[in-house]
């Protein structure tokens, strides 16, 4: 039973190609290496899908590697929870606290990721090892956030998402300060969470609840919409592809089956998976398709959940209440056919227009890009960015924008793809260096 479920979990991980394949394992503690070997994947798509192999990972001190964040939650009194989502009526987050007074850092998860995703947990343990209290926060795009927290029950419009996050952070602050002393606050996030972190820093200028000491953006997109369109273009039917995304996935599963059968795999763990990847002959196109499908699956979850919460009649009939016993596959199929562009044009924009008079697509998109924060980012001496030059979600113009805007406060690695080298020794050391910089403000 145990092994069966582990197998299932590993298959899930491999299927959700957008998440790094080694996500299941906790980083291990051990001897520290004096000279870190170079990050192994020179191909940006490989890096994005495969992540950091165990032997290249940052060696956390044993105390941090064994420290497990505690999950906390609360419910919003009187909130309407659709019957189908009975199981996510509480907002959850994870805390890993020092025993004495310390600075606290929030970590905002990336697109569709939860507060306890492997990347959040690694960052929590990493910053914990440097003496921080750490708090993991789910992405507003995660379906659980939509059900249990989101004011509007919709996600993707950054001002709304950031307002929800700001409220949540305030509640978490009140909760944490009941038990421990916090000397100062910082905020960080990876991928879309990094973009949110930048907007949170800007938002705090108004209320000054946190007066963030450090703001660390890890592999941010510059423009949520642009990056989403890139993912969508990789699986679009008109793309000049040798095979469909479905065929790419079938091939991936077939390859894994072959590998499993011919290697008499006794135990499936990350080193076995890494061996599998080494044997795998995949083209860039196939890797792009896997990443694109991963993103599409995430977006489908978000769109379906939002539609159920709002009873908007987008894929579920408006007058229908889905029971817990009903098959959902037809809705998944329908949602997975919707591109991000369609979602914005047909659902998100009309909703925001129903709330704000005079809203246009141009205004909506302009409110969701770091370029809109340029002035703030240029002058804010406490905001840092760390990323990779070969990040596939950034185009040349966007990479140049980040480099130029952040100047000396930006660190870019030549390779690593999108968050692929997050756990890589050199990358982790640099993140620690940035959050510990003195006298930035």
């Amino acid at each position: 039973m145990t092994r069966r479920l582990c197998l299932a979990a590993i298959l899930l991980l491999t299927l959700c190609a957008a998440s790094a394949a080694f996500a299941g394992d906790a980083p291990t503690a051990g001897a520290t290496t004096a000279t870190a070997p170079r990050y192994p994947f020179t191909n940006r798509y490989r890096a994005t899908v495969y992540g950091t192999p165990p032997e290249y990972r940052y060696d956390l001190p044993a105390a941090a590697a064994e420290a497990m964040p505690e999950t906390r939650s609360f419910k919003i009194d009187g909130r309407r929870i659709p019957e189908l989502f009975w199981y996510c009526d509480a907002v959850e987050y994870s805390v890993l606290l020092q025993k004495r007074e310390a600075p606290l850092i929030f970590i905002i998860a990336g697109t569709g990721a939860r507060f306890n995703s492997s990347k959040v947990r690694f960052l929590q343990q990493l910053f914990y090892s440097a003496g921080f209290h750490t708090v993991g926060i789910s992405s507003p795009t995660h379906y659980n956030s939509l059900v249990s927290l989101s004011k509007h029950g919709i996600s993707g419009y950054v001002p709304y998402d950031v307002e929800d996050l700001y409220t949540l952070l305030r509640w978490v602050k009140e909760d944490v300060e009941k038990t421990v002393k916090v000397s100062r606050y910082s905020v960080s996030g990876y991928s879309l969470g990094a973009l949110h972190a930048a907007f949170l820093a800007k938002r705090d200028e108004k209320d000054k609840l946190f007066n963030f000491d450090k703001v660390l953006l890890i592999n941010p997109p510059v423009d949520l919409y642009n990056s989403a369109l890139v993912f969508d273009s990789w699986i679009s039917e008109t793309a000049d592809a040798k095979q469909t995304p479905q065929q790419a996935i079938d091939k991936f599963i077939a390859d894994f089956t072959d590998f499993y059968r011919t290697n008499h795999v006794g135990r499936l763990d990350s080193s076995v998976l890494y061996r599998f990847f080494k044997t795998l002959d995949v083209s860039d196109e196939e890797l792009r398709q896997l990443i694109g499908v991963g993103f599409r699956v995430t977006a489908s979850s978000m769109i379906f959940t939002s539609d159920v919460c709002l009873k908007a009649g987008y894929i579920v009939p408006a007058d229908k209440t889905i029971k817990t016993s009903e098959p959902l596959l037809p809705y998944f199929t329908a949602a997975s056919r919707i591109s991000f562009e369609q979602y914005v044009d047909e659902f998100l924009l009309p909703y925001v227009q129903s709330q704000e008079t005079g809203m246009t697509k141009e205004k909506l998109l302009a409110a969701c890009t770091l370029m809109g924060l340029e002035g703030f980012l240029r002058s804010a001496g406490n905001v840092y960015v760390i990323g990779n030059e070969d990040d596939p979600i950034l185009n040349e113009r966007e990479l140049a924008f980040l480099k130029e805007t952040f100047g000396e406060r930006g660190v870019f690695f030549p390779r690593g793809g999108h968050c692929g080298n997050l756990q890589y020794t050199g990358f982790a050391q640099k993140m620690l260096e940035l959050v510990q910089k003195k006298g930035a403000r």
Binding site: M1, T2, R4, L5, L7, A8, A9, L11, L12, L15, C16, S73, K75, I76, D77, G78, R79, R80, L84, F85, W86, Y87, R114, N116, S150, G153, T167, W171, D175, Q246, T257, Y260, R261, H264, G266, R267, V297, T298, S301, F304, C309, L310, A312, G313, Y314, I315, P317, T324, S325, E326, P327, L328, L329, P330, T333, D345, E346, F347, P350, S354
Partner: protein
């Protein structure tokens, strides 16, 4: 396991679960109560009622599941029972019992399970797996102090872990419909028979061992055996219901289970 025993064990777990349960804090935030709105998406991709009933064989995640509605109810029941009882008990066990002891318990149970595994390897006429299982059982029983230490894995003999469901698969029995078993979780028509077979084997194995150990109260010993196995299994299984980042978890898990079992049938 006679039903009366099962009822007693469940009652015990409920009690333990209640002891571990802790309240969830609430927040007052009137603007966050998600009131209904009149908003409707101007363009719709609505799946009409008829289409929603049709079995979606074209889907990437399609699995033959004719009793899906029953399965989904069972799945939700399992998720509730897991949250209310099994996870709190397993968490309590992990907190109260040191890791070395837990590993010993796990190894001991694993060693007992080598025997049904051996029977299945033999029924599959798989010489390689029979050898590995015999080596593991003897090594761990002798060098591993009656199975408390898993010396064999350290020596490079990974568990073959054969169950009766896999044996049936080797014999050519197709997996049949997807089934969610109460408390136990994902299965198939074939694996349900397999699980029942393994349970019967395990029952007689334990009866024999109780006799061997001179235990007079078999019913009490049987209850303890079941409870310890349940707690051990749950604390070793990282899966938590409804934490897979998608509201289509049932569908994804069904797909992954089916693929994983198909893989195991081929090793």
């Amino acid at each position: 396991m006679p039903p009366r025993h099962a009822a007693r064990i469940i009652a015990l777990f409920v009690l333990a679960g209640l002891l571990c349960a802790c309240g969830v804090a609430t927040r007052q935030a009137p603007e966050y109560t998600l009131p209904e709105t009149a908003f409707h998406a101007p363009k719709s991709h609505v799946v009409d009622a008829e289409a929603a009933q049709r079995i979606d064989e074209q889907s990437m995640l399609y699995v033959y599941d004719p009793i899906e509605r029953v399965n989904r109810r069972t799945y939700n029941f399992n998720a509730m029972a897991d949250r209310a009882i099994f996870v709190p008990v397993a968490t309590g066990y992990q907190k109260a019992v040191p890791k070395t002891v837990r590993t010993g318990v796990s190894n001991f149970i694993g060693n007992l399970n080598e025997l049904p595994g051996l029977a299945n390897s033999a029924l599959q006429a798989n010489q390689n797996k029979v050898n590995v299982t015999v080596i593991r059982f003897v090594t761990n029983t002798v060098l591993g102090v009656g199975g408390l230490f898993d010396v064999a894995t350290d020596l490079g003999f990974d568990r073959a872990d054969e169950d009766f469901g896999q044996t049936l698969s080797v014999w050519g029995v197709p997996s049949g419909a997807y089934v969610v078993l109460p408390l136990y979780g994902p299965s198939s028509a074939r694996d349900t028979v397999g699980t029942a077979g393994d349970m019967v084997f395990s029952y007689y194995q334990m009866e024999y061992l109780f006799d061997l150990a001179g235990v007079s109260d078999h019913s009490l010993a049987g209850n303890i055996n079941t409870a310890v196995r349940a707690v051990n299994t749950r604390s070793e299984t990282p899966f938590r219901y409804y934490t897979t980042d998608t509201p289509f978890e049932y569908d994804v898990l069904r797909f992954a289970y089916t693929k994983a079992r198909a893989l195991q049938g081929q090793d």
